[in-house]
């Protein structure tokens, strides 16, 4: 694409400048101008017509306004110009690999040019196809690739925010595809509350993901395979599960005592314990004065351990779930929300411990090998607002916030996916240093994004309700400047989160039913051809 003049600067303000052009520009598109030897990139924030026809010319839809204008003597060419407002991004300094704002606005008369691929590709920290890149689509209005730096993406966390139907799951699919390609060979886990990511299993049979001897693998963990080992729970965990609101302080004290006694029992060979062992220990605390408390405690404990998710031995096998080139999909659909929170809590707690312990050499192949995890990992949390809600409490919130603030040191990246950012903890959201934000209509959600995402300017956020399906504002550390991206087509099948064509399904269902029904009529209406 050659560099061509498309307009001339009219004036500038403290915030930006405006130029006159006959070309139409969409918000978020880029232009550039010369500043000494440098070319300064600027982003279009909004466009308005330079001149409007008189309102009186527009009142009768039967009469063409342009024809009236010609009749009256206006030069209709004057009405084909736009005044385009733009914000300066800066010129790219290759020494520091960043855009530098010149802090001087272009003067009136400065010629504005359409950007070419060379300058536009500077918005990417990495090039498409290179190791550590994620090609997610093209920059709005161009054919230039939008490429995220995987290194920044997974170490400093990612947020994918979109209203339902805006293409959120689709985008997650694109990110996963990029991560799992041979150029990245990532270790990814998707926490899937709706069971919608199973289609990504296509990845392992899709030759486009293969390279030399590299074959990515996909592991789908079904709800009945997910277990929480009782011994992994802390006394606080137990109490918050079994407390139905009527648990007395005495019961809680007795429980903690039983738990501690069991853990400190030197006759036992491991730190783990079974349901029965803990039950027997609680019973053993009976001294003739606390019968009713013990009975109440046991009743609540039994109710908890009857849940099949709690197991004596089986837990979340981290080393099976996290391996380079492996995508693990934890399908937690059909599991109650509080249990999903517990699963997430235990998973994230183990993960943090494993990565921290491995980095600090507490774990190795020889020493507690089940916790030895010698590579970074990336966890995608769908419906993230359930796990770190803005108001109310969720057991998973604390460990999630710990990982978001400290996970970078230990190579744990989190991708929080939500359609209700206003319900997601603001601190948690602000810790995600790369953001892919798609169409959001709800004003409360827009406000939360504005408050939590510093890297995106207000003019871009104003575009949120107007984004079409598959368009996303991409911002943060994985890219040099915020851009609007047309998300690329997926290699794998469409994820099931699409809307159903209800009228079509109803009609088909009805037709199928009718063909199955034997029609009965009065005998005189039946011509049996005899």
């Amino acid at each position: 694409m050659s560099e061509c003049v498309v307009g001339v600067v009219l004036t500038h303000t403290r915030e930006g400048f405006s130029f006159i052009t006959k070309h139409s520009f969409a918000s978020g598109e880029f232009v550039c101008y010369r500043f000494g030897a440098d070319r300064v990139l600027a982003r279009v924030s909004y466009t308005e017509p330079l001149r409007d026809y008189p309102v009186e010319f527009l009142l009768d839809p039967e009469v063409d306004a342009e024809a009236v204008a010609v009749f009256y003597g206006f030069d209709t060419n004057d009405y084909r110009f736009y005044r385009v407002h733009a914000l300066v991004v800066g010129y790219f300094d290759r020494r520091i690999n960043e855009f530098i704002n010149p802090r001087m606005m272009p003067l009136s008369g400065t010629r504005i040019k359409r950007v070419d691929d060379t300058i536009l590709s500077d918005v990417n920290r990495v090039s498409a196809g290179e190791v550590g890149s994620a090609h997610i689509g093209t920059i709005l209005g161009t054919k230039t690739d939008a490429v995220l730096s995987v290194r920044e993406l997974v170490s400093q966390h990612l947020a994918i925010i979109a209203a339902t139907g805006a293409g959120k799951s689709y985008t997650v699919g694109v990110i996963v595809e990029e991560l799992i390609l041979a150029k990245n060979m990532a270790s990814v886990l998707i926490f899937d509350p709706h069971g919608e990511y199973g289609v990504l299993s296509d990845i392992q049979n899709d030759h486009s993901f293969w390279e030399e001897d590299y074959r990515p693998r996909v592991r789908i963990v079904k709800p009945n395979q997910i277990k929480i080992r009782l011994g992994d729970l802390t006394p606080g965990d137990f109490i918050s599960i079994i407390d139905d609101g009527n648990m007395s302080e005495k019961m809680k004290t007795l429980f903690v005592e039983a738990y501690e006694r069991l853990k400190k029992d030197e006759k036992r060979l491991t730190q783990n314990f079974t349901k029965n062992e803990l039950r027997e220990t609680i019973e053993g605390l009976s001294d003739g004065t606390n019968e009713s408390s013990i009975t109440g405690l046991l009743w609540r404990y039994d109710r908890m351990v009857r849940e099949p998710i709690f197991d004596d031995y089986r837990s979340i096998p981290l080393r099976d779930y996290f391996q380079p080139g492996l995508l693990t999909i934890m399908d937690v659909s059909g599991i109650g929300e509080w249990k999903q929170q517990w699963i997430a809590t235990i998973l994230l707690r183990h993960l943090f411990d494993a990565r921290e312990g491995t980095d600090n050499e507490r774990y190795s192949e020889e020493l507690r090998s089940e916790r030895y995890l010698p590579h970074p990992v990336f966890v995608i949390l769908e419906e993230a607002h359930r796990f770190a809600p803005q108001s109310g409490d969720a057991k998973s919130k604390q460990i999630l916030k710990t990982i978001l603030s400290e996970g970078r040191k230990f190579g744990i990246g989190v991708c929080m996916v939500t359609q209700r950012p206003s319900k997601l903890d603001a601190d948690a959201l602000s810790q995600c240093m790369t953001q892919i934000t798609m169409r959001i209509i709800n004003p409360a959600d827009q406000k939360q994004i504005e408050q939590s995402i510093e890297s995106v300017s207000r003019d871009l956020l104003a575009e949120l309700p107007a984004l079409t399906r598959g368009q996303a504002i991409t911002s943060g550390v994985a890219i040099n400047t915020p851009i609007i991206v047309n998300i690329r087509e997926r290699r794998t099948t469409q994820i099931r989160g699409t809307s159903k064509d209800a009228p079509h399904v109803w009609r088909k269902h009805r037709r199928d039913k009718r063909s199955e029904t034997i029609e009965t009529r009065p005998s005189h209406e039946l011509d049996i051809g005899v």
Binding site: V63, V68, F71, Y72, G73
Partner: protein
């Protein structure tokens, strides 16, 4: 060119390439109103003008004080008080070669002035293959909205095919940008 009977006056003063004062003759059958179209001879062409005003308020005592030499300077105010002096504005030129909006050459003093026939008015407005009043935009400031509204009334009658277009133009001139 034009029948002598149709002539209703002559140019007695030229204030600029577009603005002239026309002294109506005694034989003029009726008063002209603003917005009416008149033609002024100018070489072999006709300057199509619109009447923009009329002058009659010439104090007699001032007239009597003027010397003969000063009459030419203060024309038309030095002569017949019973007559009307029309202010006309040249919009364009109608010639054998066609229509041109805008006037580059002013007519001479004593040039004949006559009321334009409907056919000539139509010809002047059927410009460049379509109906046009494009001089409205060009001369809006010089003519003022009241004169242009009077022109619209005149055209409403003469150019019925342009009525659909004249409706928004009239509304625009009346509103003065109020909408």
């Amino acid at each position: 060119m034009v029948d002598d009977d149709a002539v209703f006056g002559e140019v007695v003063r030229v204030d600029g390439v577009n603005a002239y004062v026309v002294k109506a003759g005694f034989g003029s059958s009726r008063e002209s109103g603003i917005g009416e179209f008149v033609g002024v001879e100018c070489g072999g062409s006709v300057v199509v003008c619109v009447v923009t005003g009329v002058e009659r308020s010439i104090p007699e005592d001032v007239v009597s004080l003027l010397s003969f030499e000063m009459e030419s300077k203060y024309l038309p105010y030095s002569s017949d008080l019973g007559r009307s002096y029309y202010l006309v504005f040249g919009l364009g030129v109608l010639s054998r070669s066609g229509v041109r909006y805008g006037v580059r050459v002013a007519p001479q003093v004593r040039s004949r002035v006559w009321r334009l026939e409907d056919d000539a008015i139509r010809k002047f407005h059927l410009y460049d293959g379509g109906v046009s009043v494009s001089y409205f935009n060009r001369y809006r400031e010089a003519l003022g909205d009241d004169v242009l509204l009077a022109v619209v009334d005149e055209l409403w009658r003469v150019l019925p095919e342009a009525q659909k277009m004249l409706v928004p133009v009239r509304k625009y001139l009346r509103g003065g940008g109020a909408l």
